[in-house]
């Protein structure tokens, strides 16, 4: 039997360890290489962990991601020249999803940016964080500082019981709404004060929180969280299946420099004032794509039968010519069917369209469906 690991199996020469490394191992985490680190792909099993998160609360270690703090004079204008977000309109403690764009409108990374009392806090993907930092350093004026919080850990607590469980440790988190954050102070059993930056956000489609904290406090905090009956540690495997069901694209797979915000169906990241005023990379091309439609577009697929169709499979036309590709795919535990994200010609990117896929010499049929595959359950303002 051959085993093709499809974890981000890059052969890093030297894998780094994150602050919770031994914590994961002690809990039976199966460690795999991911974004240059050894990270837990699963504990008890992807299916069980996925379903636990949808029903209770799952704790994810995402400390591999890049946490940056930008500060300095003229920051808002300077950053708006690199991303299509409305930074000037971003209120204190408000968080926005955005895209780091190349000159031609291709996507260099997707990210979260939050207005702090002093500066902007940004979370970028682990696999490209050093490229992002280099890009920002090259394009932002010298007066703007980029502080990489590489001693900080990042946890995500996700699921319908997340607010209840976290609220026991950190009273007040329930007052946050989706895409806002605040600073909190947590005191460990040993009496140590640990500062927390908590936002109500995540990558599963569920309600939940992302918690940034110094690496020195993360073991005690992770212990306190998993002591709550609703909380179990969850690996990268379930993180991938959860985000796929929730229509959340993954950089390096569903997004890359060949994709644009319009083809990636991320038009919501192009803020209205920015579309009108321009001034971000690729503006002309992106606006043209918005008007005329992109050549290919990211869609969701439900695959017929039980066999998963995965990243790399071809979308083919009636003659068998390749017209698109699958960028993520797998068996969806909550849907109980194989699902996928794919780029297909815009004419096919309509829910209900039946398309043909080819994988390892075998033909599969799939239907384009409206994403997300599982409804989002965010706790929004006013809800």
């Amino acid at each position: 039997m051959s085993h093709d690991p499809i974890e981000d199996g890059e052969e890093a020469l030297e894998l780094l360890q994150l602050p919770l490394d031994s914590w994961h191992r002690a809990r039976g985490g199966r460690m795999v290489p991911f974004a240059g680190y050894e990270m837990p792909v699963q504990y008890e099993g992807i299916m069980a962990e996925h379903l636990w998160t949808r029903e209770h609360a799952g704790l994810f270690d995402v400390s591999h991601m890049g946490q940056l703090v930008l500060d300095g004079p003229g920051l808002d204008d300077a950053l708006e020249a690199l991303i299509p977000a409305d930074i000037k309109g971003l209120k204190e403690n408000a968080q926005s999803y955005s895209l780091l764009l190349a000159e031609n409108g291709g996507i260099l990374d997707d990210l979260m940016v939050t207005r702090w009392a002093q500066g902007l806090y940004m979370v970028v993907n682990g696999a490209v964080k050093y490229d992002d930092i280099a890009h920002l350093r090259e394009h932002l004026p010298d007066e703007i500082t980029i502080n990489h919080l590489d001693e900080h850990a990042l946890l995500a607590l996700q699921g319908p019981k997340a607010a209840e469980a976290l609220g026991r440790l950190v009273p007040g988190v329930s007052s946050l709404v989706f895409m806002t954050g605040a600073g909190f102070d947590w005191r460990s059993d040993a009496g140590e004060h640990v500062p927390l930056w908590i936002s109500r956000s995540g990558y599963t489609g569920e309600d939940g929180f992302e918690i940034s904290l110094p690496g020195r406090g993360v073991e005690a905090f992770a212990d306190a969280l998993t002591a709550q009956p609703e909380v179990k540690p969850i690996g990268l495997g379930a993180r991938d299946s959860l985000r796929l069901e929730a229509d959340l694209p993954l950089y390096g797979h569903d997004l890359d420099t060949e994709t644009t915000p319009v083809s990636a169906a991320l038009g919501f990241a192009l803020k209205k004032r920015r579309r009108e005023e321009g001034g971000f990379p690729g503006h002309a091309r992106i606006m043209l794509e918005r008007e005329q439609g992109p050549i290919v577009k990211r869609v969701g697929l439900i695959v017929e039968g039980r066999q998963p169709v995965r990243e790399g499979a071809a979308v083919v036309d009636a003659e068998g010519s390749e017209v698109g590709k699958v960028t993520s795919g797998g068996f969806a535990p909550s849907v109980q069917k194989p699902i996928a994200m794919a780029y297909v010609p815009t004419a096919l990117a309509v829910p209900g369209t039946r398309i043909t896929l080819a994988q390892r010499g075998k033909v599969h049929h799939a239907e384009v469906v409206q994403m997300p595959f599982v409804p989002h359950r965010y706790v929004r303002k006013g809800s």
Partner: protein, 122 residues
């Protein structure tokens, strides 16, 4: 008599019929199995040929024919219930049966003790 391969397959031989599956170690490594494709009756395979496909939530893997032969049956139960491979890998979760082309090929395989020793060193 039961034999094992370094690719984590088991082969139960009864007369000239061999039943093939994957080991408990293999199913544990794969995790939740969501799809199994077994070979059709009448297919002839050489040792090392792709004979079946097993897919977990995360990955697709090929199952090789551990010996040459002619397939006489795929395990139809796996189509509706691939999780049988997780639950009973070395019993009800068998993949296919074949008639042996060359019983001599079995000599190169491991017995249970040798396989356990092999796995303990992984």
């Amino acid at each position: 008599m039961r034999y094992f391969t370094e690719d984590h397959e088991w082969i139960q031989v009864d007369g000239d019929v061999a039943t093939v599956g994957i080991t408990d170690y293999a199913q544990g490594q794969l995790g939740d199995i969501v799809f199994v494709e077994t070979p059709e009756e009448g297919k002839t395979v050489s040792k090392g040929d792709d004979a079946a496909v097993v897919e977990s939530v995360k990955a697709a893997s090929d199952v090789y024919a551990p010996v040459a032969g002619t397939v006489i049956e795929g395990n139809a139960a796996l189509a509706d219930n691939p999780a049988l491979v997780n639950e009973d890998p070395e019993g009800e979760g068998w993949f296919f049966k074949l008639t042996l082309a060359d019983a001599g090929e079995l000599d190169s395989l491991m017995d249970e003790a040798a396989y356990q020793d092999f796995v303990s060193k992984l």
